[in-house]
C-alpha cells in the first residue's frame, strides 16, 4: 500500500479504479477464468485445482516432518477446510507411486453435539463420508475425549461427563472465554487421542485466514507468547513427556477463498460445525471483533491476511521455556521482570480495586491481601478456594481468566487436577528437604 519513492517520501499508492479483469486464466491463457484471487489473479477450473493441491503438497513436503509409514492423525471437524484437507490427502494417496503420500492417515472426528445443536443425522453422514474414503477413522464424543482415558471404547456411558462439560461452559458467561476454553479443551482432546492412537503427527485444517485471526486475537487475549504454538506449521508438544507430538497445519498457505473454491469444484459437501461464536453479534467477543476487523480490511486491501500471517510467522517461541501452563500447555512467563506488561496489568487492576489504600501497600503485599479477602474464614469453601488459588499459579495469564470465572474446579478433567496436586506435593517435598540440599 505504501511505498517509498526515490526522494524517500512516502506516498500512498492510489488504488487504481477497477480495471477490467483479464478474462482468461493467467496460467493456460486459453480457458476462461473461474476464480479471481487477490482481486487480480484469474484462474480457470482446470488450472486452479492443481495449483491448490500443489500448495498443500509443498507445505507438507517442505516441512520434511512426515516420514514414510508414519501414523498421522487427521482432524476433521466437518468444516469446509477440513473436508477439503481430507479430500487432498485422499487424492494424494491415490497418486502414482512417485507422487504418492506415504504416511498413514488416521481420521478423527470429535462429536461436539453436546455443546451445539447439530442435525441428528450429522454423525451418520460423517461416518458415510469417512466410509467412502476408506481410511481408518474414529468418531469420538467430545466429553469422552476430554474426561476419559479409554475414550475409544464406544460403550462407556458419557452422560455424567456431558453434564460436567456443559457445566464448565455454562459457568463461563463471557463469550471470549468460552471460545478460548473450547479451543483449549479441543486441543487437549486431540493431543490425548493422538497419543492413544499412537500417532506422532497431527494434521489440522486451519487456513491462512483463520490463523491470522487467531494470531491477532491471541495477542488481545494475552497469549502473545504462545502464538508460534498456535499458528506455526510444526509445533513440538514436548510437554515434559518423552513423546514428541508435532502438529502440522498443511492448509496454512491457502486462503479461505482458495479452499472454498476447491470444495466447490470438487463438489465436497461440508457439515455444520458451529462453535460458541456462531451467529453471535460481532461486538460480543474479542475473536469475532478481530474477525470483522480482518475481513473488512481484506475487502479493500486483498493482501491483509497474508501480511498479518507472514509477520506472525516470524515470531518464534522462546527456546528456554521452563514452565508450561497446566490448562493450555502453552509456554508460561515465569520470573518476569517487574516492568513487564503482565505486572503492569496486575498493578493497574490492584490500584483500581484498592483506591487510596494502594499507595500504602506495595505490590508484593497484594497477593496476601487478596488471599485474606477471598477466604471466608473457617467455612468449608476454603479448601476449594485454596486449590483454585494454587492452580492459578500454574496457569498462564490468559488461562487464569478462564479459571477465575469457573465456580468450582470439579468439572475440570481429572488429569489437570491430579497434575496440580502432584505439583503441590513436589513443592512441599522440596520445601521439606530444602535444608538438606547442598
Amino acid at each position: 500500500m505504501c511505498s517509498v519513492n526515490e526522494e524517500g517520501a512516502e506516498v500512498f499508492e492510489v488504488l487504481k479504479p477497477i480495471e477490467p479483469l483479464e478474462l482468461k486464466c493467467r496460467k493456460c491463457l486459453i480457458e476462461d477464468g473461474n476464480v479471481v484471487l487477490q482481486k487480480k489473479f484469474v484462474y480457470c477450473k482446470t488450472c486452479f485445482v492443481p495449483m491448490v493441491t500443489h500448495k498443500f503438497r509443498a507445505t507438507v513436503g517442505k516441512s520434511k516432518l512426515v516420514n514414510r509409514g508414519e501414523r498421522v492423525l487427521v482432524c476433521v471437524s466437518g468444516s469446509q477446510s477440513s473436508v477439503s484437507l481430507l479430500h487432498m490427502i485422499w487424492t494424494g494417496l491415490q497418486q502414482s507411486t512417485y507422487k504418492r503420500l506415504t504416511f498413514e492417515p488416521v481420521v478423527l472426528y470429535i462429536d461436539e453435539s453436546v455443546l451445539h445443536d447439530y442435525p441428528l443425522d450429522q454423525v451418520k453422514k460423517i461416518k458415510e463420508l469417512f466410509e467412502k474414503y476408506g481410511l481408518t477413522y474414529h468418531i469420538v464424543k467430545f466429553s469422552a475425549a476430554v474426561y476419559l482415558d479409554n475414550c475409544l471404547n464406544k460403550d462407556t456411558n458419557v452422560d455424567q461427563y456431558n453434564d460436567k462439560l456443559q457445566n464448565i461452559f455454562n459457568n463461563l458467561s463471557d463469550l471470549t472465554l468460552k471460545e478460548d476454553m473450547l479451543m483449549k479443551l479441543r486441543k487437549r482432546a486431540i493431543t490425548k487421542l493422538a497419543d492413544l492412537l499412537k500417532c506422532t503427527r497431527i494434521m489440522t485444517a486451519e487456513n491462512e485466514h483463520k490463523l491470522s485471526i487467531r494470531l491477532l486475537s491471541n495477542v488481545a487475549l494475552g497469549r502473545g507468547s504462545q502464538i508460534s504454538l498456535d499458528i506455526g506449521l510444526a509445533v513440538n508438544n514436548k510437554n515434559n513427556n518423552n513423546t514428541s507430538l508435532v502438529t502440522i497445519r498443511p492448509m496454512r498457505n491457502l486462503s479461505a477463498k482458495e479452499i472454498s473454491y476447491y470444495a466447490l469444484f470438487n463438489k465436497l459437501d461440508d457439515f455444520m460445525h458451529s462453535n460458541f461464536l456462531t451467529a453471535t453479534s460481532e461486538d460480543e467477543s474479542i475473536q469475532k471483533t478481530t474477525e470483522r476487523f480482518v475481513n473488512d480490511l481484506q475487502v479493500d486491501f486483498p493482501s491483509t491476511v497474508s501480511t498479518i500471517f507472514r509477520t506472525g510467522e516470524k515470531i518464534s517461541e522462546k527456546t528456554s521455556a521452563i514452565a508450561y501452563c497446566l490448562l493450555c500447555q502453552g509456554i508460561m512467563e515465569v520470573n518476569v521482570s517487574p516492568s513487564s506488561a503482565m505486572e503492569a496489568t496486575k498493578y493497574s487492576k490492584y490500584v483500581s480495586l484498592m483506591g487510596v489504600k494502594a499507595l500504602k501497600l506495595s505490590l508484593k503485599e497484594l497477593k496476601n491481601e487478596e488471599t485474606n479477602e477471598k477466604n471466608c474464614n473457617g467455612c468449608k469453601c476454603r479448601n476449594k478456594q485454596d486449590l483454585k488459588e494454587k492452580i492459578i499459579e500454574s496457569l498462564c495469564y490468559a488461562c487464569t481468566h478462564i479459571i477465575q470465572e469457573l465456580e468450582s474446579l470439579d468439572d475440570l478433567p481429572e488429569e489437570i487436577l491430579n497434575k496440580e496436586k502432584e505439583r503441590l506435593q513436589f513443592k512441599k517435598m522440596e520445601e521439606q528437604i530444602k535444608d538438606f540440599l547442598l
Partner: protein, 103 residues
C-alpha cells in the same frame, strides 16, 4: 421482459443455518421490469428465503454480502462477472460460501 427465472441458490459452509439448514433452494424469480441482477437477488433472498430476519446482518452488509462471503455463479467467481451488476440468466446456479469463523 420474459416470464420468471428459474434459478438455484446454494448456501454452504455454515450459511445454511440462516436458511432452515437447507443448502439448496430452487427458486423462481418473479417477472420484473428491469432484468434481475445479483444485487436485486440479494434483497429478494433477504425478503423471501431468509428465515430469521434478525440475523440478516450475518448475510448482508449494506447493499452487498457481508465481507467474507464468496459468491459464485455457475462455479464462476462473481468478481469476474461484474459483482452486483451481473444479470441473472435462466437456470443459473448461484452459490454463497461463507469463509467466516463458524458461520
Amino acid at each position: 421482459m420474459e416470464k420468471g427465472l428459474n434459478i438455484t441458490t446454494e448456501f454452504t459452509s455454515g450459511l445454511q443455518i440462516l436458511f432452515n439448514n437447507i443448502k439448496k433452494h430452487k427458486v423462481v424469480l418473479p417477472e420484473t421490469e428491469n432484468p434481475w441482477t445479483l444485487g436485486m437477488l440479494l434483497f429478494w433472498i433477504k425478503d423471501n428465503i431468509l428465515v430469521d430476519k434478525d440475523k440478516c446482518d450475518l448475510f448482508m452488509k449494506g447493499n452487498t454480502v457481508r465481507p467474507g462471503i464468496i459468491v459464485a455463479v455457475n462455479d464462476q467467481d462473481w468478481e469476474l462477472l461484474g459483482d452486483l451488476k451481473y444479470c441473472i440468466k435462466n437456470n443459473d446456479n448461484i452459490t454463497f460460501i461463507s469463509t467466516l469463523h463458524g458461520g
